[in-house]
């Protein structure tokens, strides 16, 4: 809608925004993992996803920010909350952490990966990717982020798009088969027992 004045539009502001979001996301992610009650974790997860959407928006990925809130925060976590309430789960104690050998190894490996990543970043050795023609200015000039994502998705990525519908179909069928008590089968078994 309007642009910031020059002294604010410098990299200073975006760096500040990033660090704010980064700190918040780290704290809230930690809370998601360590909260004892699953409902608390789910609520922190919502906050985390909301903050991530803010980060995406600050990177001019408007559409992704919107569906992050719409699908992730607004739908997937609702499902988590419903299941927690459905199963009537209680807080579990965090005391007595289990440390089996494979888990410790996995933790160690992921921690080493984390260190390598951080080390590379501070040496400035991130791999250079292929430059595409979609800079933020080019996207804005060609009809905005949503439109460009739509065009790219529905022309270049047509097969993944159609396959996504197959995936959703499979998920629908699988979820119902697994979760729904089959009344027909049940009545058949009861008949047999009689």
């Amino acid at each position: 809608m309007f642009d910031l004045p020059l002294f604010l539009n410098s990299s200073l502001l975006s760096i500040g925004v990033f660090h704010f979001f980064a700190a918040m996301i780290t704290i809230v992610s930690l809370l998601v993992v360590v909260s004892q009650h699953p409902v608390k974790s789910a609520v922190f997860l919502v906050v985390d996803l909301f903050l991530l959407a803010g980060l995406y928006a600050s990177m001019d990925s408007h559409f992704i920010a919107a569906i992050q809130i719409l699908v992730y925060a607004g739908a997937i976590v609702v499902l988590f909350l419903f299941v927690i309430m459905l199963l009537n789960l209680k807080a579990d104690s965090i005391k007595g952490l289990r440390f089996s050998a494979p888990e410790a190894a996995a933790l160690l490996i992921s921690f080493i990966g984390f260190l390598i990543m951080t080390f590379n970043v501070f040496r400035g050795q991130a791999p250079e990717g292929i430059k595409g023609g979609f800079s933020i200015e080019a996207i804005d000039a060609n009809g905005g982020n949503t439109y460009m994502v739509a065009m790219r998705l529905l022309t270049t990525y047509i097969w993944p798009f159609e396959l996504a519908s197959m995936l959703i179909l499979l998920a629908i069928v699988a979820a119902i088969v697994i979760a729904k008590k089959d009344k027909i089968l049940k009545s058949l078994i009861q008949k047999e027992l009689r």
Binding site: M1, F2, D3, L4, P5, L6, F7, L8, N9, H37, V39, K40, V43, V46, F50, H62, F63, A65, A66, I67, I69, L70, A73, G74, A75, V78, L81, F82, M85, G144, N145, T146
Partner: protein
Amino acid sequence: MGLTMNEFTVQFIATLLKFAVIAGLCINIPPIMVWAERRVPAFMQRRKGPNRVGIFKWRLYGLLQSAADAVKLIFKEEVVPEGAAKAFYHIAPVFSVFPAIMVAMAIPYGPDIQLFGYTIPLSVIRVDVGFLFIFAISSLAVYGVTIAGWASNNKYSLLGALRASAQMISYEIPLGMSLIPIVLLYGSLDLNTIVIAQSQIWKWGVVLSPISFCLFVIAMFAETNRAPFDLAEAEGELVAGFHTEYTSAKFAAFFLAEYVSMFVLSCLAATVFFGGWQIPFFDIRSLDVLIGIPGVSGLVGFGVLFVKAAFFMWLYVWVRWTIPRFRYDQLMSLGWKFMIPIGLLNVVVTAIVLAVIRF
């Protein structure tokens, strides 16, 4: 990028002013609607309704009853139920209120106005994703309901919350689907562009896509948990639904959220299907030049939109006192087995007809 400090200051101050006006509106909508919800049925049932409270001899048809109620609610005792999850119990109203307020900022309340040489849009939030922003933020309103019900440690609250949230998410899909033909027709997600495209009465959304309008109105009632879909607070079975255990100003917060989201959906319906701030056969934007006062078009546009939205608000009350409550299974099968197939068919038919005409 190349803007001066001066322009930024003007736009920032303008944003704050617009924000203050709309926020003030949002806070004042609930008392007025509560008053309307007592006076309108009184009128329908040939009663008087509240007409006593007033200042000295001016009674204003009992309008101040709502103000008195608000003050009373604030000074009531708060009763936190035994065994409630305290933090969540206190934070649930916040989760309920903020989506409603945020969404209200995304409606275009008038045309872009020219003031002191600056173009000032009359909606506070205008983002690239257009009205998907409204859907995204309003989908967060489920958490207020769910957390409130869960944190109260009361089985009526929990059941009411589950019912309400299942209903809200079920009707979010028809609500979203009913607006896809609008995007196809006007080719934009931006609400202001959609309004500008509806300059004549035969270009209105309700004329071009009446099925969308019907779906939207039904989904709108269900989305705000209003009669005939107020299963969440069916007092005969669930006491008061998810806010059974809420008293004083927290109860008022849930009321505020409900009425503000009603107002926003009314505005959205008016914007998308009834031409928003436009009136047929006359371009409001030319008023600035005609009268000679800059910014008058914005006021007139705001008035026009408000009248249209008031119609939908009145429809809410009218329907509430006319149609009996649905059963929960009826509600769910209406949403899933009737509105979703019709919505999909509506999209398909609109797309094919448009493709035949245009390509």
